[in-house]
């Protein structure tokens, strides 16, 4: 029997691998950025999954509840930070892609090779 957590782990690693594969294989810079975003999603899922507790509750102390049944709040906090950072980086990257298009007239990675060797 596969547990929910296992499914989540598999999904998250699959997302990371898909994202990285996109970065490896896609020549279009926008797609490269999207690939990185997919990997980001995978990471965020991974972090949340780590804090996941089977049948766990919201990590807020209320009367009669012990910490044992709560999901771990720390990864959730981390995910929030990671999402913010990911958002910032993505925005910056897309800006750069725009500028690159304006300068080079292309978003093809194989033609964007002015700097090499």
């Amino acid at each position: 029997m596969i547990s929910t957590a296992q499914i989540l782990y598999i999904t998250s690693f699959a997302l990371i691998v898909i994202g990285l594969y996109a970065v490896l294989s896609q020549r279009n810079l926008i797609r490269v950025v999207i690939g990185l975003n997919i990997a980001d999603v995978g990471i965020n899922l991974l972090l949340v999954t780590i804090g996941y507790v089977e049948g766990g509750r919201v990590p807020i102390f209320a009367a009669g509840q012990s910490a044992g049944t709560m999901v771990d709040p720390v990864p959730q906090a981390l995910v929030l930070t990671a999402i913010v950072i990911g958002f910032g980086v993505t925005a910056l990257m897309l800006t750069l892609v725009m500028r690159i298009y304006a300068h080079h007239g292309t978003v093809d990675a194989s033609r964007l090779r002015g700097l090499k060797w």
Binding site: L20, V23, L24, R27, L29, A109, L112, L115, W117
Partner: protein, 621 residues
């Protein structure tokens, strides 16, 4: 006190000369005077420093060990040579260096080089030895690269060799330090005596190869001719006379003193096939091949630079026999070569000063215009060719003798063959410069001034005097031999007294002089000579006049050139050197392709790196 001064004076000299570089164009006399004073002071201190032989001085502490320096008999001998030739060179440059704006740093770098060389020979531990070695190499590079673009290109060639040598030596220093735990020579000696053969071989290869490179021993001599020949001419004299010998100094120090002959001789298949045999063979190749290359040079400086390599071969031949006579010959040849090569190149510089060229195809007939320079070159080439009564004969005689007595007949034969080449090439030198027909354009050429004549006269006197009275030099050599653990040579004022045949230069000189006088008497009494104009003459059936010049000068040994052309141009060393350079460049070119410029590839490297690293760690775990 003198020992410290020997290190301090060149440093101060360097600093002041460095600061004076701005004045060079307007008033070159200031920096020239400073250099003259400085090098004279160094020479004076060097002469006085003999009293401090054996005293060790401590310098700064580096890496937990104290840098030590001090004089030994060997290093004092070298200090004297360095200081003496530097002072003479400086006197000569007072007159000759008139294009000071091309060489604004001439004296500054020269001071730096003297500092490096004196420091090197006075180093008493491995670390200071290496530091000084590097300073010397860098200073040599800086000295060479002044002036024209051509000099800088050639100096770059030197730099590649020098820095390679330096890095090999650094590897050796690190290896010996790690293995023996100390930089001190004494500790290393003790360690090496009891070490494994593998360790000894590694240490010896790492330490001795750099010295062979610096000494331009075949096949690592490729850097020398261009580097020396493209320098300013006085610098060519200076570099040829002393710079290359620093490699030999290292060799002597490490073979005889630091490692010890016993350890060196443990490496080999049998008593007759060992490291020293290898050195002898290399030395023989060094003596023969460059000497014959010299035959085909059309530039006086370049011709002599090939002899700098070849004569280094003689020195190594003598030293590698490790016999009393051989080492005496080798050590003495260092001095002799220094004196006569400086003499010859000063003469060339005197000619260049007036004519502006050193091209042997364009000179000729200058004997009447520059007799002092002619005499200087005559004395010098007699020494270089190893003909009595000049000093070159004595050391070469020792070397031949030691090779024959030591049972190396083939090596001795090689040495003789090399001497034939030497005589041929120096004849070309003096003929094409001073003999034959004087080209019209040099009619107005005059002798150089007395300042430039002075070093020539001094060196002529030295070359002759130490040839007639070799005992004056041999007394120093004997002291060095005692220090190196070799039985000292039994010298007399005129040469050497030994069972296997005496040498008395005074007698030989007397015979020579008498023969010369007899010949002169016959020549002048015969009354057969007639002085004619150089155009009232003929050669090979042609009348010589202004329009049909005497043409032996051009391509002097063209017949030999025809025979050896293929061999010479197929010189394996030059092409190996070039190919090595090309190989590095090509490999670098391919490695650079790693940076493809495409982001997808970079991402792939990333993922691959993680996967390979994981696989690697699995292996380790």
């Amino acid at each position: 006190m003198y020992t410290q001064a020997l290190l301090l004076l060149p440093l101060v000299g360097f600093g002041v000369a460095f600061l004076l570089q701005g004045t060079v164009k307007r008033s070159p006399a200031i920096v020239k005077t400073w250099a003259m004073l400085g090098f004279a002071a160094i020479a004076a201190v060097a002469a006085l420093a003999g009293a401090e032989i054996g005293t060790l001085y401590e310098g700064p502490t580096v890496f937990g060990s104290v840098l030590t320096y001090g004089l030994t008999d060997l290093s004092w001998w070298f200090v004297l040579l360095i200081a003496g030739i530097t002072a003479l060179t400086t006197v000569f440059t007072l007159g000759s260096l008139r294009y000071a704006d091309d060489y604004p740093m001439y004296y500054a770098w020269l001071f730096a080089k003297v500092f490096g060389m004196i420091g090197l020979v006075m180093s008493r531990d491995l670390l200071s030895f290496f530091i000084m070695w590097e300073i010397m190499s860098w200073a040599t590079y800086l000295v060479m690269q002044q002036g024209r673009d051509e000099s800088r290109k050639a100096a770059q060639g030197y730099l590649v060799y020098a820095i390679s040598a330096g890095m090999i030596l650094l590897g050796g220093v690190v290896f010996l330090r790690t293995a023996s735990g100390s930089f001190e020579f004494a500790v290393i000696t003790k360690f090496v005596a009891g070490a494994d053969l593998g360790v000894i071989i590694t240490a010896i290869v790492l330490v001795l190869v750099p010295f062979l490179i610096e000494a331009a021993v075949y096949p690592t001599h490729g850097w020398l001719p261009s580097a020396y020949a493209s320098s300013e001419t006085t610098m060519t004299a200076y570099l040829s006379s002393i710079s290359t010998r620093m490699g030999l100094f290292g060799l002597i120090l490490f073979v005889f003193n630091v490692f010890g002959l016993d350890v060196i001789d443990r490496i080999g298949i049998s008593a007759h096939l060992n490291l020293r045999t290898l050195l002898l063979v290399l030395a023989a190749l060094t003596a023969v091949l460059p000497t014959y290359t010299a035959l085909f040079q059309h530039d006086a400086k370049r011709l002599l630079t090939w002899h700098s390599i070849g004569q280094g071969g003689y020195m190594l031949l003598g030293l590698a026999t490790a016999s009393t006579l051989g080492t005496a010959g080798g050590l003495m040849h260092i001095f002799n070569y220094m004196t006569y090569v400086a003499l010859i190149i000063f003469s060339i510089a005197a000619v260049e000063y007036r004519t502006g060229t050193t091209n042997l195809n364009k000179l000729g007939g200058l004997i009447t215009r520059q007799p002092v320079a002619f005499l200087g070159m005559l004395f010098g080439i007699i020494g270089l060719a190893g003909i009595p009564p000049m000093n070159g004969f004595v050391s070469k005689w020792f070397i031949y003798r030691s090779l024959i007595l030591g049972g190396y007949p083939f090596v001795a034969l090689a040495a003789f063959i090399a001497t034939v080449g030497t005589i041929m090439s120096v004849y070309k030198l003096i003929h094409n410069t001073f003999l034959g027909q004087l080209p019209e354009r040099y009619n107005e050429v005059r002798e150089v001034g007395w300042v430039m004549q002075l070093p020539i006269w001094v060196l002529m006197a030295v070359v002759f005097a130490t040839g007639v009275f070799p005992g004056t030099i041999l007394q120093w050599i004997a002291r060095i031999q005692v220090e190196l653990g070799i039985a000292p040579i039994a010298y007399t004022l005129g040469g050497v007294a030994q069972e296997a045949g005496d040498l008395n230069m005074m007698v030989i000189t007397l015979v020579f002089t008498l023969t010369f006088i007899v010949g002169a008497v016959i020549f002048f009494m015969g009354g057969k000579r007639r002085i004619v104009s150089q155009y009232d003459n003929y050669a090979a059936g042609h009348f010589l006049n202004k329009d049909v010049p005497y043409n032996f000068n051009y391509n002097f040994y063209s017949a030999f050139d025809h025979i050896f052309e293929k061999l010479y141009h197929a010189a394996p060393v030059q092409s190996t050197e070039r190919n090595l350079g090309r190989l590095v460049a090509t490999v670098g070119e391919y490695i650079r392709r790693f940076f493809t410029g495409q982001i997808n590839t970079y991402a792939a490297y990333y993922v691959a790196a993680v996967i390979i690293a994981l696989a690697f760690l699995k292996e380790v775990l």
